[in-house]
């Protein structure tokens, strides 16, 4: 990956220092009230709304020259928008970037939590399209703020119950609502529910930025995060019948890759760094050779290209 130098036309981290302070104040409030949505003066960014401007503002407010940034989308470092955001930060801060989960001090993510458990001192910044978990039940912001204030979450349980009555399952596979610190119902963002258990008691700090909706929320380290469920219908996560076709992992979230137009498909880790790491350690999936032939992965690829 090309390393970019800090562009001197822009302040370090792009945002001016006053704006960074405003965002940090919102972050402190968010950490103090886990799961509560703090309104903040979200700025117009040079990237489009809905494309990660909330996460970008949080990262911009936190990042320092010593940081090492990882950006993922769908679990992968090389998806189009992750590349675009990483290039943005390389340009406006010049900080080192990495694809290696354990090397990163800040990980900005969209739609996934890395498979490798995070440590104390790491910060996971989520991009949030819709911070309000109750929005599909109640379109008005005035009303949903009242519902949170009164912890009036019955409507959410009714919705989950109706799914079970109709389909036999809660028909929510991503953005599956969680209860944070026994107080606020919170949207975990559109991560698959597979990732929800990782949020609970996580040693790393989790920060959530919704740029268009102008909200910030947070889960401090080691906080209780529980996916909503019922005693007789406990929360479950997705599972696959086969392992990753590239690295043979059986504990990771898998994406379906279509290999031809006759229904051929393979299942591969969505977390590209995790998958590469496993392959570097000698774990070989049964279709790795096929994937190499199709140029889905580089041949004889090492653990990291960018460290």
């Amino acid at each position: 990956m090309t390393m970019l130098q800090h562009d001197p036309d822009y302040n370090f981290g792009y945002l001016d220092e006053q704006t960074k302070r405003m965002i940090r104040r919102a972050l402190l409030k968010a950490v103090a009230i886990p799961g509560y949505q703090v309104p903040f003066g979200s700025r117009e960014m040079p990237l489009a709304r809905g494309w990660g401007t909330g996460g970008i503002q949080i990262t911009a407010a936190l990042i320092g020259p010593e940081d090492r940034l990882k950006v993922i989308d769908q679990g992968a470092d090389d998806t189009t928008n992750a590349v675009s955001i990483r290039r943005f930060f390389a340009r406006v801060s010049g900080v080192a970037t990495t694809e290696e989960t354990s090397e990163a001090s800040i990980i900005q993510t969209r739609h996934r939590i890395p498979e490798k458990p995070l440590d104390e001192g790491q910060i996971l910044v989520y991009q949030v399209p819709q911070p309000e978990p109750l929005r599909k039940l109640e379109p008005s912001e005035v009303e949903t703020r009242k519902m949170h204030a009164w912890a009036e979450y019955g409507a959410m349980h009714v919705r989950l119950y109706e799914d079970i009555a109709r389909f036999g399952h809660v028909a929510t596979t991503y953005s599956y609502p969680v209860m944070v610190n026994d107080r606020y119902v919170m949207s975990p963002t559109p991560i698959p529910k597979f990732d929800n258990p990782k949020m609970d008691d996580m040693p790393a700090l989790q920060l959530f930025g919704a740029g268009r909706e102008k909200r910030i929320y947070a889960i401090p380290p080691y906080t209780k995060v529980k996916s909503l469920d019922f005693e007789d219908h406990p929360f479950t996560i997705q599972s696959w019948t086969e392992p990753c076709a590239l690295c043979a992992a059986t504990d990771s979230y898998l994406d379906e890759v279509i290999t031809d137009d006759h229904g051929g498909r393979m299942f591969v880790c969505s977390d590209s760094s995790y998958c590469e790491d496993r392959r570097a350690k000698g774990h070989i999936g049964k279709e790795l050779a096929v994937a190499e032939a199709l140029d889905y992965v580089d041949r004889g690829e090492g653990a990291s290209h960018d460290a």
Binding site: P39, R49, G50, S84, E141, T173, Q238, Y253
Partner: protein
């Protein structure tokens, strides 16, 4: 494959080159200059300045050039630049009563002090192609000057009605606080009128036009009269703290619309006319009129009217009229969503499998 496991960066850089090539079009045709856009595409420039919330005709023209004339993308460029500008203060409120009028019409009075000034307008043109423009055979335009100048005083129509007490009074809030700045602070609801007017003034012209139309057609209760529309130049002045007196920064073109609406009155208030206010940069009558109609329809709460229709619901209007935010969110659907889609696939397959099993069991039991 648009998300190859590797190689995204090179592909992204190539899109930048391709779009630059497309922007230029056929190189045998001379390149358009920013000055040409500024001078000859003024209404587009005005729209970009409005929706981009930045009065700068050169940058508006540059934005149009850089975006191949995509108005929303151009407004986005303006906003992304605007947010980086330092703020050295707020201007003195502009006084549209002292506007150097180029156009001023009222639909509520046949004649009024200052008279009707038609000015430059497409209102009375027949929408027939002028093929001489296609042949670049334009004659140097020459409008003849009137034999007398406009009246110095051009009172605003609502002020005339206000003198009689027929018009809803417009009083600043207590202590006349500094207005909200929606570009610096998050909007909370119920929103004040300052928030509403700021949001509408940067709102999408097409969205506001459609909403205003819905009010007129019956999805809203207001029957508006165009009390006055005026367009012209106003001075912008500023009081630097270290000087303590006003200095002129220059002038800007504004279009202002004052809509007059009926109001039946309530137990506390005698019947009177109510106002809707619209203000836009440049010559932008459609925008200013739409804004004025919606400003009034959003006063439903204040006047105790049932907010039954979209144009009366402030969260609906104010959240959704911003085209830069709207297009970002609608277009983010282009981003990869395959992780979530995989979750949906897995669930759908599971539900279908279970249903098939249940049906088979039922069939077995029946046999």
């Amino acid at each position: 494959m648009y998300v190859a496991v590797k190689g995204g960066e090179a592909a992204i850089l190539a899109t930048h080159d391709l779009v630059a090539e497309e922007r230029r079009g056929d190189v045998s045709v001379p390149e358009i200059s920013v000055e040409q856009i500024r001078e000859q595409m003024q209404l587009s420039v005005a729209r970009v300045m409005n929706e981009g919330s930045l009065y700068d005709e050169d940058l508006g023209a540059l934005a149009l050039k850089q975006t191949q004339g995509d108005l929303i993308e151009a407004a986005f460029l303006m906003r992304a630049y605007r947010t980086t500008l330092p703020r050295f203060g707020s201007s003195v409120p502009v006084d549209t009563a002292t506007m150097a009028i180029r156009r001023r019409i009222s639909a509520t009075y046949k004649d009024l002090p200052g008279g009707q000034v038609l000015g430059p307008t497409y209102d009375y043109t027949h929408r027939l192609f002028d093929f001489t423009l296609m042949a670049n055979g334009e004659h140097a335009p020459a409008a003849t000057a009137a034999d007398h100048s406009l009246d110095a005083a051009m009172p605003r129509v609502p002020d005339i009605l206000g003198d009689e007490g027929l018009m809803e009074a417009e009083v600043p809030p207590q202590h006349d606080p500094r207005p909200f700045d929606l570009t610096r602070d998050p909007v909370e609801f119920p929103a004040g009128r300052d928030v509403r007017l700021q949001t509408l003034s940067r709102g999408d012209e097409g969205f506001l036009l459609g909403l205003a139309y819905s009010v007129q057609r019956g999805f809203g209760g207001n029957h508006p009269f165009a009390g006055e529309i005026r367009m012209g130049e106003v001075a912008v002045s500023f009081v630097p703290e270290e000087l303590g007196f006003e200095i002129d920064l220059g002038e800007i073109t504004l279009t202002e619309c004052q809509m007059v609406n009926q109001f039946k009155g309530s137990i506390e208030q005698p019947p009177q006319f109510t106002r809707g206010y619209g203000l836009a940069f440049g010559h932008a009558e459609r925008k200013a009129m739409s804004m004025a109609i919606i400003d009034r329809s959003l006063k439903a709460r204040e006047f105790g009217e049932a907010a039954e229709y979209p144009a009366q619901q402030e969260e609906f209007v104010l959240y959704h009229c911003d085209n830069v935010e709207a297009s970002g969110f609608v277009e983010h659907l282009k981003l990869p969503h395959y992780v979530d889609f995989q979750g949906e696939l897995e669930l759908l397959r599971k539900i279908r499998r279970e249903q098939k099993e249940r049906l088979a069991e039922r069939k077995e039991a029946a046999e």
